[in-house]
């Protein structure tokens, strides 16, 4: 029992080490982060302006509602991008710096190693996504008097468990293809959101895409967050339970996929190619 407690303590200290490392890196690259944030704001504006554009070309819509709906989609897209990017960098960046071998030979379980990356990614992603939401909402002067932001935030955190599980599966790609693996991860991000109704209701999708949307955690996250912000709804169980189920499946599956990728890399010498 005592040995188990000691092992758990060491594992949690290891997890905190991954978080600590990401804090150091974020501090060292803070100006790059500011630059990327500006880019994300610009990108979000290009999407959110679509609502104004529809009215300008004669369409009749509730501009404030459509603007908010598009903004939520863009913010979730950005948030998912941050989670996936951090997990992808677990391998890609470390391989670039050459530290991956030292990380992989440390007596730290892969669950805690990836868990540390996930914890930091979620905290960092929530801060960035909230800032993005506030900046763009202020830009358009959105009022959102009924919004239940707390429920939206809690749902995003619950959905993050599933995003993290799927992110683990994609983070193995740079191990298999060091040159192109990271880009493949962004394809997964796009596929996930396109079937989840990122800027539109899922009902407009072809039937087969609607079926796929039922296994995407982003579907329930987007639906629940929109309901909370647009209508002031609280946490809805019909959004929460699918997220819990998908999370319970995706985390062990993600770890298993990463483990298989790690074995492949160790069998073929892909952790480092020379030197």
């Amino acid at each position: 029992m005592r040995a188990m407690a000691m092992t758990l303590k060491h594992e949690l200290i290891g997890l905190s080490g991954v978080v600590e490392r990401n804090i150091y890196l974020t501090k060292r690259y803070i100006f790059w982060d500011v630059a990327f944030f500006v880019w994300t704001v610009a990108n979000t504006l290009t999407i959110v302006f679509i609502a104004e554009g529809i009215v300008a070309t004669g369409g009749e819509i509730d501009v404030e509602q459509v603007t908010t709906q598009l903004l939520i989609g863009a913010v979730v897209w950005a948030y998912l991008g941050i989670i996936f990017a951090f997990l992808m960098e677990t391998v890609a960046w470390e391989r670039w710096e050459g530290t991956i071998e030292y990380t992989f030979m440390a007596p730290l379980s892969r669950a805690m190693h990836l868990g540390g990356t996930g914890v930091f990614a979620v905290i960092y992603g929530l801060v960035r996504a909230s800032l993005l939401f506030v900046v763009v909402a202020l830009f358009f002067g959105l009022s959102m008097p009924d919004a239940n932001f707390a429920a939206a935030l809690v749902l995003l955190v619950i959905a993050s468990v599933s995003f993290f599980g799927i992110g683990m599966m994609t983070s193995v790609l740079p191990l298999i293809s060091p040159e192109k693996g990271a880009q493949l991860g962004f394809i997964a991000q796009g596929m996930l959101l396109v079937v989840s109704g990122v800027y539109y209701p899922v009902s407009v999708l072809p039937q087969w895409m609607q079926w796929l949307s039922t296994i995407s955690p982003a579907t329930y996250a987007l639906r629940g967050i929109r309901a909370s912000i647009l209508d002031g709804a609280g946490l809805a169980w019909e959004d929460v339970w699918p997220l819990l189920v998908i999370g319970a499946v995706s985390i062990p599956l993600g770890l298993w996929v990463f483990h298989r990728g790690e074995l492949y890399a160790k069998r073929h010498g892909k952790l480092k190619r020379s030197g």
């Binding site: 200290i13 290891g14 080490g17 600590e20 150091y24 060292r28 710096e97 071998e101 160790k266 952790l271």
Partner: protein
């Protein structure tokens, strides 16, 4: 002299324990592109071909070999970073493939490249790395300045990004990282290659010191014949994945009727130490 933290107390490794390193018929192959077989043609290149040896607890063994001889492959296999294709390797009785977690608690490694997050400082790099071995912030706050002082790293440069440091300085931090976790087995893969003579001497002196004071078992893969002779009790010759000999330097010279280790290497392999053929280049295995 400061004490290094005992992540794995040496008392935990029984005196009458298995050899520190026990390698038996170890094989590793890599699939490489075969230019003769067209775009998708592949061939198997043996990086290690039936290597067998043991290292006693507290012993220092040097392995000499040219680029492509399989030295780094051997170190990576023992570090659990590669999976063997055949044979076995154990560290104090723990199989590197099947009991990798137990092995990782016992070994650490310093390679020719001091790999760090280059924008982070030496202190930051050591702090997060120590956490992976279960060291708490209160422990590292004390131990990291101590160990950096011990390797001769200037106190006023501890906050500087690694990219601003010379290779010699970076290698000292790499040594500090390896020793911070108190490894029972230290794997050194060309730790002094590319260093200026002064840094080289300092690193070699430090390796000697660690061995005496920390009772560490050391496997030193090197290009440097003098370094091998000075630091190691036994010297091995690894050529094209095969371990041709492993014995004390004097015995090696005697066996091949050579006056120097370089002559012995030439006699054993049929080529000079610095001489590399196309075949070595073609192998494209870990150097």
């Amino acid at each position: 002299m400061t004490e290094v933290r005992e992540a794995v107390p040496l008392e935990a490794v029984p005196r009458r324990s298995p050899p520190a390193v026990d390698v038996l018929e170890l094989r590793k192959e890599f699939r490489r592109r075969d230019r003769k077989k067209g775009r998708f043609g592949r061939r198997r290149v043996p990086a290690l071909d039936g290597v067998t040896f043991t290292i006693r607890r507290g012993e220092c063994v040097a392995i000499l070999g040219q680029n492509g001889s399989g030295k780094s492959t051997l170190v990576r296999l023992l570090s659990t970073l590669l999976l063997p294709d055949g044979g076995s390797a154990t560290i104090f009785g723990h199989d590197v493939a099947r009991e990798s977690r137990a092995v990782r608690r016992l070994v650490n490694r310093v390679s020719v490249e001091a790999s760090f997050f280059k924008k982070m400082s030496s202190s930051e790099n050591l702090h997060y790395a120590a956490r992976f071995y279960g060291m708490t912030p209160s422990e590292t706050r004390v131990k990291i300045p101590e160990i950096l002082t011990r390797v001769g790293f200037p106190a006023d440069r501890r906050g500087e990004p690694m990219e601003n440091l010379s290779r010699g300085m970076q290698q000292k931090v790499a040594l500090a990282r390896a020793l911070l976790t108190s490894p029972v087995v230290l794997l050194l893969d060309e730790p002094t290659t590319g260093l200026d003579p002064r840094s080289k001497k300092e690193v070699q002196e430090f390796i000697r010191e660690v061995r005496v004071e920390h009772d560490a078992t050391i496997l030193l893969c090197t290009h440097d014949l003098d370094e091998a002779e000075e630091l190691a009790e036994r010297v091995g010759i690894l050529d094209r994945g095969r371990l041709l000999a492993l014995e004390p330097a004097d015995d090696l010279k005697h066996r091949y009727g050579a006056e120097t280790l370089e002559d012995a290497f030439f006699a054993a392999t049929g080529r000079g130490f610095e001489e590399e053929g196309d075949e070595d280049d073609d192998r494209e295995v870990f150097a």
